[in-house]
Amino acid sequence: MLSLRVAIPAANTLIPTKTKPKPGLVVQTGWNQTDLFSSLPKRYDYKLQAATTGLTDGRASVEDKEVELPAGLSRELMPKHVAVIMDGNGRWARQRGLPTSAGHEAGVKSLREMVELCCQWGIQVLTVFAFSSENWIRPKVEVNFLLSLFERALESEMESFQRSGIRISVIGDSSKLPASLLSLINKVEETTKNNTRLQLIVAVSYSGKYDVVQACRSIVERAKDGQIQLADIDEGLIEQELETNCTEYPYPDLLIRTSGELRVSNFLLWQLAYTELFFTQELWPDFGKEEFVEALSSYQQRQRRFGGRHS
């Protein structure tokens, strides 16, 4: 269903044309915008803009200045964990007569913007569905291409993540990933593990059902080893064994899916029990600040009951 949204290095940073900074809105970023996800060939004729940062040195951490939220959003009601199914890159490219890779590159721009907004608005965890376990059935050439792109992007952005206080975690079935990518993932996770501004969880070769099955296998092994009794198995134990045990907030408050499809497609199955779902017709490369504000606004107006009832 999904492919990796990663960038091919190029000279300039892509700035989405529809989300120009509003006058008076303070925008602070923790990384050099010419580094992160900067990679579009000029022939695509996107509006390009060289970006600068406010960093005084490469190691400076992100400024903790409060960022003014768009009108209508409340900081107190901001979700702690947002999950995204980034759908629609291929369709976006086809609509423009471009190759699929162009759609993925444009999708990277959207992801970059979303990461930045999450940092600014106090969202603590962002989980993105980058590569589904079902995507392995795609042509080998395409799969190899995507994995190598992901590897190169991780490598080129590791320093940026570190500077901006972003912690990277990768979840999914790693058994099928190339050794070089696995090694890099471990390195990035280790390097960024103490960062606290935002945790970006990238689901690669992931399926919600697989997550539950592997948790179950862990539990069986622990039971066979005598670490636990069968009677000890409860929802808490399962939660501990799921791959989302890498975060303090494993259950998304809000799930956004783009491109108009109204399904969850085997993403974070157990974790989505009480998650508010937001579906939008926009294709992922077109999902920008405005659309994110709309999703957050919708979320903040909802009454979450968790099976109970408001009196």
Binding site: M1, E134, I137, R138, G208, K209, V212, V213, A215, C216, R217, I219, V220, E221, A223, K224, L230, I233, D234, E235, I238, E261, L262, R263, V264, S265, N266, L269, W270, L272, A273, Y274, T275, E276, L277, F278, F279, R302, F306, G307, G308, R309, S311
Partner: protein, 280 residues
């Protein structure tokens, strides 16, 4: 109560005969040009608000649950006529036990009163009824009545109505894990199937799910405008078309169902494409 029963039977009567029946058959004829879902699941939300609408300023009479029952019967009948073989309804979540005890009692009493009526409807339409969930927390009368209804309809195989009571998806998955773990541990002790690390498979869990009686739902419809699954069919909803509608459950009508199916048919090509990719 008799008034509500009469009102309910009137609704059912209107469903099953007259001009509305002819019009409905025409509509269904059009729907059948496209793919008909095999399984529709309903999250029946909005009963309480309906009750407040009917009794403004007063105490809850039945919590809207009696009207909810008749709405379910109407939907089951429409689905049956259209050729939808499986219908699942989220009647009572384990989380609902967190509500006020009087609300829980109203719901329990309402459900218990409906078993005989449900049996009549099920037998009339030859629909098998199955209860999915953990019936343990219910009293003996409830459990016995539920078992009796299941036994009375066990012989029907054309259509299945699954009613989820004392159900949450996580509890269902937990139950499946417990069963699977117990089996694998027994196998380990008996040195059967000790084939190394990957001894728990997807099918081990799936065969132990409460919902193993039915295929995954094609559509999940939720009323009252909420957009969440609320711990319902998490495992089974991976490929389900999710449909949220603002109507309150007791007020759901044929056209709501028709629109949901039309929407499903519009999105079906995408799902079919994905299935074909899997087969390549």
């Amino acid at each position: 109560m008799a008034k509500e029963v009469m009102s309910g039977w009137t609704r059912v009567g209107n469903v099953s005969r007259g001009v509305s029946s002819v019009i409905r058959e025409c509509i269904f004829g059009v729907l059948r040009v496209g793919p008909i879902p095999n399984h529709i699941a309903f999250i029946m939300d909005g009963n309480r608000r309906y009750d407040k609408k009917q009794n403004p300023g007063g105490a809850a009479v039945s919590g809207g649950h009696d009207a909810a029952f008749w709405a379910l019967v109407a939907m089951v009948m429409y689905c049956y006529e259209l050729g939808v073989k499986y219908v699942t309804a989220y009647a009572f979540s384990i989380d609902n036990f967190k509500r006020k005890s009087e609300d829980v009692q109203i719901l329990m009493d309402s459900m218990l009163r409906k078993f005989d009526l449900l049996e009549k409807v099920a037998i009339h339409f030859a629909i098998r009824v199955h209860f999915a969930g953990n019936l343990g927390p219910f009293n003996n009368e409830f459990r016995v009545s539920a078992m009796k209804l299941m036994e009375a309809t066990a012989g029907y195989s054309n259509s299945l109505l699954t009613i989820c009571v004392a159900y949450t998806s996580r509890d269902e998955i937990l139950h499946a894990i417990e069963e699977s773990c117990e089996q694998k541990c027994i196998d380990h002790v008996r040195e059967i199937n000790s084939d190394g690390d990957h001894i728990i498979k997807l099918m081990d869990l799936e065969k132990n799910m409460y919902m193993a009686v039915a295929p995954d739902p094609d559509i999940i419809i939720r009323t009252e405008g909420e957009n969440r699954l609320s711990n319902f069919l998490l495992w089974q909803s991976c490929g389900s078309h999710l449909c949220s509608m603002s109507v309150l459950w007791p007020e759901i009508e044929l056209w709501n169902l028709v629109l949901a199916i039309l929407n499903f048919q519009k999105h079906k090509p995408y799902l079919e494409r994905k299935k074909k990719e899997k087969q390549v």
